[in-house]
């Protein structure tokens, strides 16, 4: 590394100023991932709902998307199964049928190879609730009552599996507010919405990002699964002024440890849900979605470019 980037207060203030003086159009453009995520989250729900209630099909007797997030079948062909649910059912001692095993492999493959922890930010309906709670919490400036370690979710993940073995019931599936919400939107209302309300209030008043960031074992599961996935947020250390706006908006700010990111060149933690909030907010454009194999070459080019600028400055 030829030049170590330096950070001055003036640069930081300039970055923040740049962010706050964005035009309305630029401001709106910065919501693009949030809008896309709501479209996918609600769209998935709509596809399920339309197939269940309005008989949506791609051909005669070929339903479009049947089931819910636990297990489903797309265009009568591709089975999709929640791999965490399948794992729990396997641990109860039930021998799963081939269809659900293929489905679990498909979903697992998508997140393991490409998406990372994308499920949480792009598919899970509870994310809309916790995002709303987090947004309102920031607006209201609510202080936390207590702190919990973010590693708690991994212990809950282990507990889920242990209790599944002990009780002979898929421990998380029987209490999951994600399952409740999805099932009850598609198949009829019940008390599941009180679980969503509880999560909303917990996230709003008790612990910031409490459910998704501290407790949910499914999120923990996908954090582990998606650790090595290809889709990543690239970090360009040359343009970053360390203004910290990204970490302020990130629901998992521990993944934006800039010093460590500098070494790797991308957000490497599996806990990053690829929600895309940091990328549009960054005033310098230092955080962008990219695929892992492309990141290294990009960063090398950027470094060469930055070196050239530094040389120019020195010789001037």
């Amino acid at each position: 590394m030829s030049t170590q980037p330096t950070f001055s207060k003036a640069d930081v203030l300039a970055s923040v100023e740049k962010l706050h003086s964005r035009s309305g159009a630029a401001e709106f453009w910065s919501w693009r991932y949030i809008i896309l995520r709501r479209i996918t989250q609600l769209g998935i729900l709509l596809l399920f709902f339309g197939t269940a209630h309005w008989g949506w099909q791609v051909a005669k007797d070929v339903p479009l998307l049947i089931g819910n997030l636990s297990a489903s079948k797309f265009i009568g062909l591709i089975p999709l199964t929640d791999p965490f649910a399948a794992l729990q059912i396997f641990l109860t001692g039930h021998v799963l049928q081939k269809e659900s095993l293929i489905g679990a492999a498909v979903v697992l493959g998508i997140y393991f190879l490409i998406g990372g922890r994308m499920f949480c930010a792009w598919a899970c309906p509870v994310n809309m609730v916790t995002d709303a709670a987090g947004w309102l919490r920031d607006k209201m400036g609510i202080q936390p009552i207590f702190h919990l370690p973010r590693t708690l979710r991994y212990f809950i993940l282990v507990a889920t599996l242990v209790i599944t073995v002990i009780s002979g019931l898929a421990a998380f599936e029987w209490v999951s507010p994600i399952g409740m919400a999805h099932r009850e939107i598609i198949f009829g209302l019940g008390m599941g919405f009180t679980a969503l309300l509880a999560i909303f209030l917990f996230d709003l008043l008790i612990l910031k990002h409490g459910w998704c960031g501290h407790l949910c074992p499914l999120g923990a599961f996908y954090s582990l699964v998606g650790k090595t996935a290809l889709l990543r947020v690239r970090f360009d250390t040359n343009t970053c002024t360390h203004c910290g706006e990204c970490a302020k908006i990130c629901p998992e700010p521990q993944v934006l440890n800039l010093k460590k990111l500098d070494e790797r060149g991308y957000v490497f933690s599996g806990e990053c849900s690829n929600c895309g909030r940091c990328s549009p907010i960054c005033p310098e454009g230092s955080l962008k979605f990219d695929f892992k194999p492309l990141i290294r070459s990009h960063n090398t080019q950027a470094r060469v470019h930055a070196d050239a600028i530094a040389v120019q400055r020195r010789t001037r």
């Binding site: 197939t51 269940a52 339903p63 049947i66 089931g67 819910n68 636990s70 297990a71 489903s72 079948k73 089975p79 199964t81 929640d82 649910a85 399948a86 059912i89 109860t92 001692g93 039930h94 021998v95 799963l96 049928q97 269809e99 659900s100 489905g103 212990f155 507990a159 242990v162 209790i163 002990i166 009780s167 002979g168 019931l169 898929a170 421990a171 599936e173 029987w174 209490v175 399952g179 409740m180 099932r183 009850e184 598609i186 198949f187 009829g188 209302l189 019940g190 008390m191 599941g192 009180t194 679980a195």
Partner: protein, 263 residues
């Protein structure tokens, strides 16, 4: 090395052990509570009428992924998923025979939709399904009152096998009775009879087998039914036929156990 504290204790090791104990206690308490919630939720399983091919209740509870594909694929749309806070185990499919009975589709689409095998593909013919058993409340059944109702018999998809009519001639002053009888070797528990029953609250109802069916046990030997295997036993080994007076100290035969022990 950490220095030794009072009484030769190693403070850092002590802290570590206490932390471990605290963590274990937390996990244990939480785990017990979680386990209790699960078992409590699953407790109502014996009351549910499940789609055809459903595994025995514990296995079904374990295997069902709560995806609702059986619900969507059910042609008469009678299946529902139990919402949270309901009377039946959460998220699992069931039907209510009085409002929506199973119409016994020959191709069993609900079972085919099941991705996990909670609705077992071993069910090849819908007539072999055992979703529940029709039970008649003879105090409120119109047929038992001497009325010519028999609607359940007429509506039964396995008429003559699952429900038969038995005539009870009576004295001239009263009607003869045509009494429906349910046969558990043929009744699938579809519930069409319960739906059709004209009484205000159905007098014929579908209940899960576990709640209604008794078991005779192996120790009763019906000597007058000459085609039973027990009689065969007697034929093969007539010398082993039990005598009415048990030998002192000897083991009594199957027929004689009632004579033992001062009964």
């Amino acid at each position: 090395m950490a220095e030794k504290g009072l009484g030769g204790l190693n403070p850092s090791r002590r802290d570590f052990l206490v932390k471990m104990a605290q963590g274990a206690a937390l996990a244990g308490t939480g785990g017990l509570l979680w386990d209790y919630i699960l078992r409590n939720e699953a407790r109502a399983a014996p009351y549910a009428l499940r789609p055809p091919g459903a595994l025995a209740e514990d296995d079904f509870n374990a295997a069902c992924i709560k995806c609702g594909q059986c619900v969507v694929d059910c042609p008469p749309k009678i299946l529902k998923l139990e919402p949270a806070g309901g009377a039946l185990p959460i998220g699992t499919p069931f039907y209510d025979a009085r409002t929506g009975p199973c119409i016994m589709c020959p191709d069993i689409p609900c079972m085919k939709a099941c991705p996990t095998g909670a609705l077992s593909p071993e069910l090849k013919k819908i007539e072999d399904a055992r979703m529940g058993l029709a039970v008649i409340d003879i105090e409120n059944c119109l047929s038992y009152k001497g009325l010519r109702c028999e609607i359940c018999h007429r509506e039964c998809p396995l008429k003559g096998k699952a429900i038969t009519l038995e005539t009870h001639p009576r004295q001239t002053s009263r009607h003869a009775m045509f009494i429906p009888l349910v046969h558990c070797d043929a009744c699938t528990g579809c519930g069409i009879c319960e739906k059709a029953c004209p009484t205000e609250i159905a007098a014929i109802r579908i209940l899960p087998h576990k709640l209604v069916q008794g078991k005779i046990g192996d120790h009763y030997r019906l000597g007058w039914t000459f085609d039973t295997e027990i009689t065969e036993d007697f034929k093969q080994a007539p010398q082993a036929a039990p005598s009415l007076t048990p030998e002192p100290g000897g083991k009594p035969g199957g027929l004689d156990y009632l004579n033992e022990g001062g009964l």
